[in-house]
């Protein structure tokens, strides 16, 4: 087990370093950053000044090393637009995004896993059809439209929930549903497929032949094996929800990281964008690592060599 953990950890660190290099080189992808920063009316001298101030005149390896060293210490530089430390802004916005992502993930898993299990236990039944419909509708429906529709009915016509802001828990209900619903179909279909496969396996027959109760067969023997791919998917989707909630955060005016990313792109705020991409990538890496650990716990074939 320890060997496995160390191996995964090593891979995670390698990926993190690679990601940091790519993130750093992002600023050069759109041309000379100094020229972009200086604006159209700038003189050659202005551009040189900017180069020197921001360190763009140094060799790229040195720039990268400096940037990485500072980043490791929590210093992502100054925001060009907000004139505040990037780290402060990000850590101010991060909890909101994390909370929204976690709520959305919980909503998605609580809805989709039981639905997938029931659909697999009774394939082609009414409940399976309903689950399939939910999945197809969920996949086909654009999330912004779903969010706006929900806002219209729950928020404006029936006045059940607040439609914007982050003042109380009630503010998070609609964004969580809108964000979580998006990943429900994939998780549900994967759970259903996994359960169908596992339920027809020989060891489930063995479990039934032992006279175990149906619930023991279903949850102890079947679900544990069927859930393994779902864990990996959920981890990736959670990462996606942290970074990809721009639309939902914008619609519900949730002041999170996604919203910040969108603003920073508009403002050409390079250090801010770099930092956001880096932070989100690290979340992905951490989540993947945690998913691997969870799977190793679930499946001894990974853990015990």
């Amino acid at each position: 087990m320890l060997q496995y953990v160390l191996k995964r950890l090593g891979i995670a660190i390698l990926v993190a370093v690679t990601v940091s290099m790519i993130t750093f080189s992002m600023i050069y992808l759109s041309g000379d950053p100094a020229i972009a920063l200086a604006g159209e009316t700038a003189t050659q001298e202005d551009i040189q000044n900017i180069r020197r101030v921001y360190g763009y005149d140094q060799p790229i390896v040195v720039q990268y090393a400096n940037w990485l060293w500072n980043a490791l210490q929590g210093d992502f530089g100054q925001s060009h637009y907000l004139k505040k430390p990037v780290a402060d802004v990000i850590f101010e916005r991060l909890p909101t995004t994390m909370l929204l992502g976690a709520c959305a993930l919980i909503f998605a898993l609580v809805l989709s896993i039981p639905l997938g299990v029931v659909a697999a236990v009774r394939p082609n039944s009414l409940i399976d059809r309903i689950a399939l419909t939910i999945a197809v509708v969920g996949q086909a429906m654009p999330s912004f439209w779903f969010a706006l529709t929900m806002m219209l009915w729950l928020g404006i016509y029936w006045r059940l929930l607040p439609i914007s802001g982050t003042a109380s828990w009630a503010n998070f209900v609609m964004p969580s549903i809108a964000l979580g619903y998006y990943i429900t179909p994939a998780v549900m279909r994967l759970t259903r497929a996994g359960m169908l496969e596992v339920l027809s396996s020989d060891y489930i027959r063995t479990a039934r032949a032992k006279g175990l109760r149906p619930m023991t067969v279903l949850f102890k023997h079947a679900l544990r094996n069927a859930i393994i791919p779902v864990v990996s998917l959920a981890a990736v989707q959670f990462g996606f929800m942290l970074g990809g909630s721009i639309v939902i955060e914008t619609i519900f005016a949730v002041n999170g990281l996604g919203f910040l990313a969108w603003e920073s792109i508009q403002r050409a705020d390079l250090p801010m964008m770099q930092a956001i991409v880096l932070v989100l990538s690290f979340f992905y890496i951490i989540l993947t690592f945690l998913a691997d650990m969870l799977n190793a716990w679930l499946d001894p074939r990974i853990r015990v060599m």
Binding site: S201, D202, Y203, R205, T206, A207, R208, A209, K210, G211, L212, R213, P214, T216, K220, H221, R224, N225, L298, D299, P300, R301, V304
Partner: protein, 337 residues
């Protein structure tokens, strides 16, 4: 005659499929006594596995079971609820499957899987169940049994896993054990060991056993009585000696032709084979099911259904229109050629 543990009368399995009604098991009747081994022999798809699953009530949900009588230890299994049936499975009657590699759950330790049936059926503590598991693992010839409890199935070889499956089936001290091709997936060298083990344990625990196999060599070694199954029906039943010495049904004769006998079959000699394929079991078949492949077929075979009838010795029955004398004469003629 030992007390009967299991009695089966007129067992049928029906599966509705798009092209009609599939009848993989048709009017099967037999009984198994304490300490007795009944071997059910037949080629793939003849319905022998479905017969055992039907007894355990583990058929696929689409398949329907019908039986005149299905009695275990004096209790009728027919008409039992799923709950009552679950109380019997793994407790009074247990099953060993064909595929040891996939029949154990990869996610749980051997110890966990061994003890769970006992914890479910008997009021014992975990420690008691573990002690019994260790005792049985030693019985089935597994060394360092206590340390095996913490191992996972993927750490064991196929032969060891089948031994674990056998131990698992014996955890609650069943009266009846059904072994569905327990050695098919194993190496030849392991096959004999496992069979000896099964026979020994059965003797020791005085259980009734149904041994399902397509391997006549296996049957000859361990069976008290044999039922030859073909296309959903029993075509011949009798003691092992009766079946091997004076097979009466042409199918049984054909099956025995297919086995080489050491010392008797010459090197390079042609082994027997039964030409043709098993008939489709969708809908009703008129007359003898083997008629399409039988070397002695004539009009009477397909005129009407053939029922099991007594052969020369007591307890030996066969399903053929030929008289036993004529059938055995046919075989001798064949052998002389």
């Amino acid at each position: 005659m030992a007390e009967r543990v299991l009695e089966v009368e007129d067992l049928c399995v029906e599966i509705p499929i798009p092209s009609g009604m599939l009848r993989p098991v048709q009017h099967v009747s037999f009984h198994v006594g304490q300490g007795e081994t009944l071997a059910i022999v037949g080629e793939s798809g003849c319905g022998k596995s479905l017969t055992s699953l039907a007894i355990m009530d583990l058929l696929p949900s689409k398949a329907k079971r019908r039986a005149e009588r299905l009695v275990l230890d004096g209790d009728a299994l027919t008409g039992m609820t799923e709950r009552q049936m679950a109380d019997i499975r793994g407790n009074q009657m247990s099953m060993i499957f064909q595929e040891p590699m996939t029949s154990l759950n990869p996610a749980y330790t051997i110890g966990n899987q061994l003890t769970e049936a006992m914890l479910r059926h008997k009021s014992v503590s975990l420690a008691e169940a573990k002690d019994r598991a260790v005792w049985l693992l030693e019985k089935v010839g597994i060394t360092a049994a206590r340390s095996r409890l913490g191992q996972y199935p993927h750490q064991l070889s196929g032969g060891l896993r089948q031994r674990v499956m056998i131990a698992m089936a014996l955890m609650c001290g069943p009266d009846m054990i059904i072994a569905d091709e327990p050695t098919t997936a194993l190496d030849v060298t392991i096959q004999a060991q496992i069979l000896h083990l099964l026979a020994e344990l059965q003797d020791e625990f005085h259980m009734g056993m149904i041994l399902i196999t397509h391997d006549l060599g296996v049957v000859a070694r361990v069976a008290d009585r044999v039922a030859v199954m073909y296309a959903g029906q029993f075509v011949e039943t009798g003691t092992a000696a009766q079946i091997f010495d004076s097979p009466t049904h042409p199918y049984t004769q054909g099956l025995l032709e297919c086995i080489p006998i050491p010392g008797k079959t010459e090197r390079g000699a042609h082994l027997g084979s039964i030409p043709g394929i098993v008939p489709s079991l969708v809908g009703e078949i008129r007359g003898c099911h083997f008629a399409g492949r039988c070397p002695y077929v004539h009009e009477a075979c397909t005129a009407e259904d053939v029922s099991l009838r007594p052969s020369l010795d007591a307890g030996h029955e066969y399903r053929c229109v030929l008289s036993p004398q004529a059938a055995i004469a046919n075989r001798n003629k064949q052998a002389a050629q």
